[in-house]
Amino acid sequence: MSVPGDCGPPLLRAQGISRRFPGVLALDNVDFDVSPGEVHALVGENGAGKSTLINIMAGVYQPSAGTLEVKGRRMVLPNPASAQQAGINVIFQEFSLIPDLSVAENIFLNREATRGLRIDWDTMHRRTAEVCRLLQIELDPKVAVRELPVAQQQLVEIARALAFDAQVVVMDEPTAALSEVEIDRLLQLVRSLADRGVAVVYVSHKLGEVFGVADRITVLRDGKRILTEPRSALTEEQVVSAMVGRELVHTECPPRTPGKVVLAVRGLGSGKAVRNVSFELRAGEVLGLAGLMGSGCTAAVETLFGLRPMTSGEVMLSGKALLMHGPRAAIRAGIGYVPEDRKRAGILPDLSILHNITIGVLERIRRLAVIDAKKEQSIMDEYGGKLSIRYSSPAQRAANLSGGNQQKVILARALAENCQVLLLAEPTRGVDVGAKAEIYSLIDMLVESGIAVLLQSSELPELIRLADRCLVFSSGEPRGELVRGELTQPAVMALATGLANGQAELKLLRRDPLGQEAA
């Protein structure tokens, strides 16, 4: 399947690209190119300059120095439209759809088929259908995007980039919101694109995917290009150390000694989304929740935190029945929550790190309405230190932190509320390799200290690395429980898809970032 990267003249070539933002040099004299029929993976930690480079290729930013060549012709891309005309299509990481417009309109946004002044709906709907067929997805071209589940929305974004005979397709973390099955399909799709002569730039944190699909790999760090090699010439360990700039101590899951039951859930349900969930969670133990997008495991966590109405069942927290009155009640009762969508539901961008961490405990640390600055600072010191959050000053706005550090801040917030039970939803989504390792060992540390963790994750390796047991959900219900050891990709997929174990060929080479075999 692999086309040797160095064959054929590069379709898109960036030479000596530098981009200076007021105060920082985001890109420093970077060369990058991609040839027809090649999948060129671009990897690097957050802040390494990947997104800056992408935005330059997309015409969103202008380079401070350096040139872009498309098919050997020097080009200046003053705006996204010009990049599109040059045949460069970008799938951005952040949700970039128009909720109120239909699938077809989103796919054709700014490239609408028109007859005279009017939009040619027939053509648009027809071609949308074609694209969907190509992607083997069923989407009603006329339905408004806001009415689709996230996974399908993500597919719309991809469809948008492929709808036109794109010569270059840039994918920035395209699988962030996708489930196993969808990821597999996507990677196959990427491959077939390349085979049809499209040049693909594939940006991802997940080295498993990268090694599964890329022909060449380029690593960026601190705005500089560290290496560009054919995949065949690289091991994941090399890539990882190139990314983080140091050898990563690779950690195994330490032995666990679960204590007494902290959280007992019986027949928990929330409308149609979640049905009869029952489990017991012990102190110092990690219970994983696995399942495809919309399988209900996310909803189950949200229900436990009071974000969704609990329509049935009961929840006992260390013996006492827990009344679900929304987040405040949950927090008071000793349940901490690290939400899946950090940007949307986690971070308070304009507040300082300090204030982000203490927001949940203010009532506890105030003396007659006035917040006790000393206590607040001591909380900051304790958890900031414990989680080794990197910041220039506690007054720094959380918005300026890297994803990993933001995640740690939110974790610190939950801990500051000194919770017995910690609900983690996708704790390492959009977090880079180095930070991921840290967060894993943090979780180990917390579990060590006797906190009970409920871990919902769409990354199997993560579950394997962390969970003692794992509930696998599908269509709103837990379909079975796998304990450490049974926890393999085929087993999970079998339960998750409700198919026989024969489906194991769905499996694609996926490993966890630290390079050990997943299954």
């Binding site: 105060g23 120095a65 507040l351």
Partner: protein
């Protein structure tokens, strides 16, 4: 293990400091600059009476703007302050005339707070967006005040009452002192109380705030109560300043208050803002119209100038950003090979 050792990351981009500085102190700097220039160029500006009059004039809108600042930081909004001001002022003077000062103040503040609560409930419980909820209240309150006042002016000239709006302590005008006190209280609330912290949190990202356990609904209601409180203080000052008001008092007051808050550097979308800026902005507007009067500017031209100043002041940040971008967008540079 190495990954866990605390290491300080490289400092945040310097521009941010600039932003913060401009956000917090920009308008204050402008104010001081304008004062300096006016003192030199404008005859009679830097005279005791005139300057104290400027401080006095700025205070009325300023006090109302204190509450609005908190509201806008929390990401909400109140268009009904104008008509509420008229109603409270009328009630205060009317009650004052009939039942004396204490009752007047009580009723005035009470009414303001009550209207705040109603706004708050409309926004949180009935879930009407603040903009429209308060727009509706704007009409309702105005109609209501015309109805109860039967459209007669209310007058209350007890010297001890009119002192609030017209008197001075030492050389400082009472309203200005009230403004400073209110500003300090407002700033303290924002800085040192859980409520203040919640206000910033909610304005910055309401969903995240909710997930973090911020009681959005009570905070929002409280915010509107705070508006009502400061707005009624402003109303009492205005009423006292004028001795007499009608229900049609101060059309367009709400817009002037909002303009003041935004000019003071508070972000209209919430999450950021400071009291200092609001105070300075209030004084700046007062200074402006005073200077225009002293320069005998044509009344028609005055309108234009006031609008332009608002635009210019608010454009500065945007223009600065653009320049910053243009600088960092130096086009192609020959690559040395």
């Amino acid at each position: 293990m190495t990954a866990l050792s605390t290491t300080k990351a490289k400092l945040i981009p310097s521009t941010l400091d600039w932003d913060v500085m401009w956000e917090r102190y920009g308008i204050t700097a402008v104010l001081l600059g304008v004062w300096a220039v006016a003192a030199v160029t404008t005859p009679n500006f830097a005279t005791t009476d005139n300057f104290l009059n400027v401080l006095r004039q700025g205070s009325f809108v300023g006090v109302a703007a204190i509450g609005m600042t908190i509201a806008i930081i929390s990401g909400t909004f109140d268009l009904s302050v104008g008509t509420a001001l008229a109603l409270v002022a009328w009630l205060t003077l009317w009650v004052g005339g009939h039942a004396g000062i204490p009752a007047a103040l009580a009723v005035g503040v009470g009414a303001g707070v009550l209207m705040g609560i109603i706004n708050g409930l409309l926004v949180t419980r009935v879930r009407i967006p603040a903009f429209v909820a308060t727009l509706g209240m704007y009409y309702v309150i105005r109609g209501f005040s015309f109805i109860i006042s039967k459209n007669a002016p209310a007058t209350f000239r007890a010297p001890s009452f009119t002192w609030l709006g017209n008197g001075s302590v030492g050389f400082l005008p009472v309203p200005f002192i009230v403004l400073i006190v209110c500003a300090l209280i407002g700033a303290a609330v924002l800085r040192y109380t859980a409520f203040g912290r919640y206000v910033y949190a909610q304005g910055s990202n309401s969903v995240a705030a909710m997930v973090a356990g911020v009681p959005l609904q009570s905070v929002t209601i409280m915010v509107f109560v705070v508006i009502g409180l400061f707005n009624s203080i402003a109303a009492i000052l205005v009423g006292s300043r004028l001795y007499s008001t009608t229900p049609g008092l101060e059309p367009g007051f709400e817009l002037r208050v909002i303009a003041t808050v935004v000019l003071g550097g508070t972000r209209l979308s919430g999450g950021r803002g400071s009291m200092l800026g609001t105070v300075s902005a209030a004084l700046l507007f007062a200074t402006l119209s005073n200077v225009l009067n002293l320069l005998h500017a044509d009344p028609f031209l005055q309108r234009v100038v006031e609008g332009l100043v608002l635009l210019v002041a608010l454009s500065i940040e945007g223009i600065r950003q653009r320049i910053a971008e243009r600088v960092s967008r130096t086009k192609e540079v020959p690559i040395e090979k």
